[in-house]
Amino acid sequence: MGGFMIITNNTLVKEKFGTDYHVEYEELSFEDTLKKVRDMIYDGYKLLTHPLSGSVKPKETPYKSVLMSEKPEGLDMQSMKLIESAIQACGKFQDRTGQYDSDVYEDFRLIDCTLIGSAIPSAECW
């Protein structure tokens, strides 16, 4: 089992995990972050966490962090299936990401950060 990296659009994740882990930060929307992950999956990277982690709905929160294999490992069917249905699921929700006060974004960043943080101990076991 190889290493992992975090794909994120959440500055807090970059801040918190950036020094210890490989974090790929890019300022993208929730959906575009998933699309970036999808393109990586088609390049052979493997999905390590569920793209719809968290019960905060897509587009309700603007933030998404996903754990991926650090290197391509060949096209993985399960990764492909999960990411496609996750992107499809985005269409079911109203986009509300521009509608909150700034402190709410802090909360969203924190929740996303703890969601991905909950996967890191598991990822490190390998």
Binding site: R38, D39, Y42, D43, L75, E84, I87
Partner: protein, 350 residues
């Protein structure tokens, strides 16, 4: 409030004109007349609604003169300007069911008048139209008329009055791809236990959420004599003439391409490439035969292994393209392949 105006459509059989021998009976309207099953509908309607006209059309006539029959019937319906259009019920009569679905769909689409029909679940008209037209599930023969009308009439009234339509299991229509909430008599856990007991006893049970259907395609019988067969190539690997003239998208393709390969013996770097954005394109661009093996098939053609290679190939990009789109593409070009007398297809993916 004035009565709801209904126009009712039935076939020659239910109009008492005759069976198969009269199926070529052309469309006609009988204004002010209530015919056959219309009597049962009338009973249910009471004072709320009235059938202002009945349209009768032979099943063969409708299906064999589709465009004319449709246009004629639409004109008749338009003239009456009903609040709701009802067709059938068609039970298990296949052509009647297709006619009911077709004309209801047309009335809704062209005239903006809501329509409702009814038929047996295995009637081919059901699969074709249940997602477009409210279709009551009926028994498989006219013996189920009373039951059918008892669902058809109330649903028609509700639709005409623009009331909220309940879930399929409440109203009796076939599930139409729209999920509708409602309160059950028993809580979910109890329903789960009941379902479990039935499943344990191998008794029939009904899932509340049928999983999206997984298409399993039965393979066709093997080609008996390959040396006489016309073989076509189809790919989701995105092989296109150099420059991608039809701009097939690198992912989530919205269309497919059809390209002539008459006289093409080999796909070269200069002439073909891939539009696919989901795999490393270097090897496909270097030699597109690696994805769409024209060269090998030409050789087989020359050596008489196969009859011939079809002179057109069909191509799209399977990179995140929706199953529904893929299905629609294939439905369209497989008709062309059939029409061109193709015996078999080699479908390559990446």
């Amino acid at each position: 409030m004035s009565k709801i105006k209904v126009v009712h459509y039935i076939n020659q059989f239910f109009a008492n004109i005759g069976g198969e021998e009269k199926a070529d009976y052309p469309a006609e309207i009988r204004v002010g007349e209530i015919v056959g099953p219309g009597m049962a509908l009338k009973q249910y309607f009471g004072e709320e609604a009235e059938i202002v006209a009945t349209i009768v059309c032979g099943d063969s006539y409708f299906n064999e003169n589709l465009e004319k029959a449709k246009a004629d019937i639409l004109a008749m319906v338009k003239e009456q300007a009903p609040d709701i259009f009802i067709a059938g019920p068609a039970f298990n009569a296949g052509r009647y069911g297709v006619a009911c679905g077709t004309i209801c769909d047309a009335v809704q689409e062209e005239l903006g008048i809501p329509a409702v029909t009814g038929m047996y679940v295995e009637n081919p008209g059901a699969d074709m139209f249940k997602n477009k037209v409210y279709t009551i599930a009926t028994k498989n023969s006219a013996a189920g008329m009373k039951d059918a009308v008892s669902k058809l009439a109330p649903l028609a009234l509700k639709i005409a009055k623009k009331e909220a339509i309940g879930a399929s299991c409440q109203e009796g229509y076939m599930p139409n791809g729209v999920r509708v909430n409602f309160f059950e008599e028993e809580r979910g856990s109890k329903r789960a236990v009941n379902m479990l007991l039935k499943k344990l006893a191998d008794k029939p049970f009904e899932t509340e959420y049928p999983m999206p259907s997984f298409d399993r395609v039965e393979p066709n019988p093997a080609i008996k004599d390959l040396s006489k067969a016309t073989i076509a190539l189809v790919t989701s690997g995105g092989i296109v003439p150099k420059g991608n003239p039809d701009h097939i998208e690198s992912s989530n393709a919205s269309h497919y391409g059809e390209y002539d390969i008459t006289g093409v013996m080999d796909l070269t770097e200069a002439t073909y490439e891939t539009a696919h954005g989901g795999y490393d394109p270097v090897y496909a661009n270097e030699d597109a035969d690696r994805v769409l093996p024209v060269d090998v098939l030409r050789e087989m053609e020359k050596n008489g292994v196969i009859g011939k290679l079809h002179n057109k190939f069909y191509t799209t990009v399977g990179n995140g393209t929706a199953v529904a789109s893929s299905k629609a593409f294939a439905e369209e070009f497989s008709q062309k392949l059939l029409a061109d007398g193709v015996d078999a297809v080699i479908l390559t993916s990446t």
